[in-house]
Subunit: 239 residues, 6 copies
């Protein structure tokens, strides 16, 4: 069950590497659209420094407010290419993660962290180039007293994450691609990006979305009416 404490799963199946590599070519917005506008975490998850970007396979962590014990358990289970993703049993912004754990995670091959709580040592993380997405940056220390879980399904910032899913994060937020969907989504993202490249050229040349997407008729049908100027509008509506 989601939110069960006391379990660490040693071996998990991960999304296959080719799809992960393909997804790494795209941004969060593109992938979220390519999946059909699903899988996105809530907007309060922000990178600790601008320009941060990561794409990897999820090692999931379930932890309790103000308690970072499970991050140490997760360190052992991280492999090259993983991104740790932490959800909590209740809202909390304590600084559960800092430069020591980042050093450990990197030594194990992890590429980054997504944490629905706080992190600290922000300057050191930026200097190391170890990307973290969090709810807050705060020096507040945590205890090691209550066990949670590692590698069980979690909820993190409004997204359901299974171990081994693909995690993509950048300046626009964090999106989760279920491992079984990774090949399909990678293909759809590439197709979308190719199509957008053409649209971008046309827009840059001054063409309008109204014409490229053929919106004029549907706008009129939906009730949009053009008036010549403010005087024409004022005749009809009082301010």
């Amino acid at each position: 069950m989601i939110g069960q404490s006391g379990i660490a799963v040693k071996r998990i199946s991960r999304a296959e590497p080719a799809s992960v590599a393909a997804l790494a070519n795209h941004g969060v917005a593109t992938i979220h659209e390519a999946m059909g506008r699903v899988g996105l975490m809530q907007g309060y998850m922000r990178p600790v420094y601008p320009g941060a970007k990561v794409c990897g396979t999820a090692v999931t962590i379930f932890a309790h407010p103000g308690d970072n014990w499970m991050l140490h358990v997760a360190a052992e289970l991280l492999q090259a290419g993983d991104v740790a993703v932490l959800g909590t049993s209740s809202e909390n912004t304590d600084g559960m993660f800092g430069d020591l754990l980042a050093t450990s995670f990197r030594a194990r091959g992890a590429l980054g962290l997504v944490i629905d709580a706080g992190c600290r040592d922000a300057a050191e993380l930026r200097a190391m180039g170890f990307p973290v997405w969090s709810k807050a940056v705060h020096a507040k220390g945590t205890v090691k007293a209550t066990v949670g879980s590692v590698n069980t399904p979690i909820l993190c910032a409004g997204a359901l994450v299974h171990p081994g899913d693909v995690v993509i994060a950048d300046d626009d937020g964090v999106v989760i691609v279920p491992k079984a969907e990774a090949p399909r989504v990678a293909a759809a993202a590439a197709a979308r990006e190719a199509k957008e490249a053409k649209t971008r050229q046309r827009l840059a040349a001054g063409e309008l979305g109204l014409d490229i997407y053929g919106m004029r008729e549907s706008l009129a049908k939906a009730g949009l009416r053009y008036v010549d100027d403010e005087a024409a509008w004022a005749k009809e509506w009082r301010k």
Copy 2:
């Protein structure tokens, strides 16, 4: 009426160019003060990247939560020197605007966007140098289903904006100067800045605001009492 849907006004009167150019020399804080401390949007409107700055004439957009259709309608009505300003019918942080629309807006001559909702493609906007002030950065996609309006008066983040008003935005937020007030405010801002330059020199030389502004007497009248040290204070007040 504020918040009416279904109207796009084709031609609007804009603040006259000389005043817009003059206002571009000043920051948001100075202009807000020069107007008599009015016209400021709420503090949650933040630039997508630090150092962003814009000054232009407003093309106003009224849109519905999770629906970015009207941004395409606005694109056609933007002219060189305009800043798009979008208000919504209810609170929303979806990413209504991204690099494709930015490409289109720039091609039409627009200088930037102020949006009381979310935007996305933050990294691309920073790379393009297309400045956006928003309530949030979030990849969340939007639909094109319900019409709003373009170039009617709107409320945006606690400010009333008429089409053609001057929009100034920087790291300190966003301020709106009604078009008819633009010459007066530009002059007042210049006067204020000139005066502040002199004050800055005196303060840099170690003079005190207490003396420059002559506050000592009014402080005493308002009840401020100096005591020599903590012991003197402790005698009177118990902690």
Copy 3:
């Protein structure tokens, strides 16, 4: 009493310089831990620009919402090495402090400002390198109408601050070290950092916190159970 208005204390005792200098070598997270996880301000206090860092002795300011009069009173009482710390009588995010006051504070020798309200002129503060930690950046102007106090004990963002206490602030937030505790905390912080340097090396070499800190037994005692894989886990728990 905390929150008393109408008093300015001219002479205060400050933490002794050697301890302040020693504390300047450490970050907020380290010092907060070295004190026993106390003294931290709430997480909403953020630096106006990333990478800001300060360590100095507190000159405390108590002010009312939307009123920055007391900052001028404080300017006169600031000495070289001080950091101004401002608490308010109720929540407010108006821009009480900008580049003119920063110029004045710097001329008096102050190193920075911690303000449980808003500040403005963010771009200028960044250009000056005058570090400010605040609840918000907002251009909103303030009045000079109601007296507060200077150099009396205040509450600022959830921390109790006495005049002369040591204030350390960086990307992780703001921590207050009571002046009497400064020598002890400086020593404890140095010891902690030395110990962490060794741990960092071991972690970088791939050793696990589980082993370095000897957590395996206590985790098992607290109920953590390892299972081999997702199939093994699924047998026990239904999703």
Copy 4:
């Protein structure tokens, strides 16, 4: 200009009494719909006690954070049937209004208060049956130091309010009907309510909105597909 301080307008034109009386028969949701979904204040404006309801003509107040001076100025300008509506120059939740001012307002004939800030003496207001909609209930006291305005246009919780407009407030929030629109909106609200009464009967009898409003075809066109059961759905989508 919106947000100008220093003006009190003695005589204002008010919405005509027949329309105000007619609007009093309807709830906020109905009136907001009858106007075309405009005029609503933001959702954080809540009644101090459940079941509160008011309909009257607006006397507008513009005040500064933590300063309730203008409420006293407004008292003199209130007439029988008025509702005071207060907007502020920046966000604040201090308790600007309590049972003394309520006593005064009632003696002048006012029916209630809408305040984009805090109020206090909640138990007394409930006992008096004097309805207040506010952002917060808080005992925090305020000063009388800075002038605002009375009976100039204001922004209050995201709505533009002119003196004399109709204010309707109940458990669902607060809506403003511009005085010139009052007759039209009152008629539209009555028509809507009559129509809803019939729909309510049909719904109570078990008929579906799908059929009453004829939505089945448009839902299908918009892409809704019915599947027989979870097994049928599971075949197509992986969880």
Copy 5:
């Protein structure tokens, strides 16, 4: 996939009635504890009127911000004993649900609604005794333009809800019991309540939890030290 639009599942399996009836005897806090502290929605979900309580089987609804179309689709699929549970694709507090839909839902046998958005007609809902838990009460109207889904798994206020799961809601919030867990959780809740009844008696008689739960030793081991009085404490710690 969670968050897929465009599907309505006609027939779902529901938790078996005996377990639902058994769970109806317990409060949200008890059930949440009996499950092992899982299944709880976030704390912002509040009853529209105090004292509301419901226990039934979930019909799930996935909707878009500001769009209540799917509630009409759900009405047809509701059966006696159901509770509608609505999650959205992004944060929104518009009033998606009011007394007309409540009339329809009740006519179909539904017992209540849990909605991660706003509702309106609060006074009418209270009068009808139709219980709703929501994020907000707000009159804001919504459109019917974009399809979501009915009876697919959803995320609602931080809880994963499958169609047919048991929903229990009261003054303390909302908890979801997966249908397969219902018998086990009902039994555990009854056992917990029986045990608590005995504890309550002992506590009412003045016995201490310290003794009933045998906490004295573990507190001492965890570092709690008793001192006689404030003077004894002051000797060790400086304030």
Copy 6:
């Protein structure tokens, strides 16, 4: 030091009973004013049911997020007439306190609880008439793993509380009167209330605060200008 863990002080000095009894006659707003507008907790502290009121002596509790162990330690140290006041080491809204602890606290003579976190069993607390002021109502359970302190000074919702201080709470919030100040504040509150009773009579008779408090001259001096009507105002200011 504020925020120190691991101490329980057995005997504390309490405010003398006569002052506590006298303070019980007044509301929070009156007492806060009588003290000079200090001592108030932040406005998010709300009673679990309307009409709750308490006045007693503080037993202070310092606890960690999601951990209610210290409430059991406090139970033993509570005496007749006490009010428990709990602050935490970081923000948390878990339901730390429910009907079992309320039963225990009442059996020990405690009159209520003020908790800067969540509580649960809201319906039972209302039925018992055991008043609680909290940041949230939420069923979320807590652990007993980390020790805090009892009867040391704490910060609770922005107020400094020493053991034995007087706690007064009602619908307007919570105020703390330092024990040494209790006699003075009780007298000042009585004087204030007597004066307000007279003012209330005059206001009820239609007299204006403007005249009773003699504000007309100071308003004019501060810049308030009366104009006859909207037309007169419009001449000067453009909308």
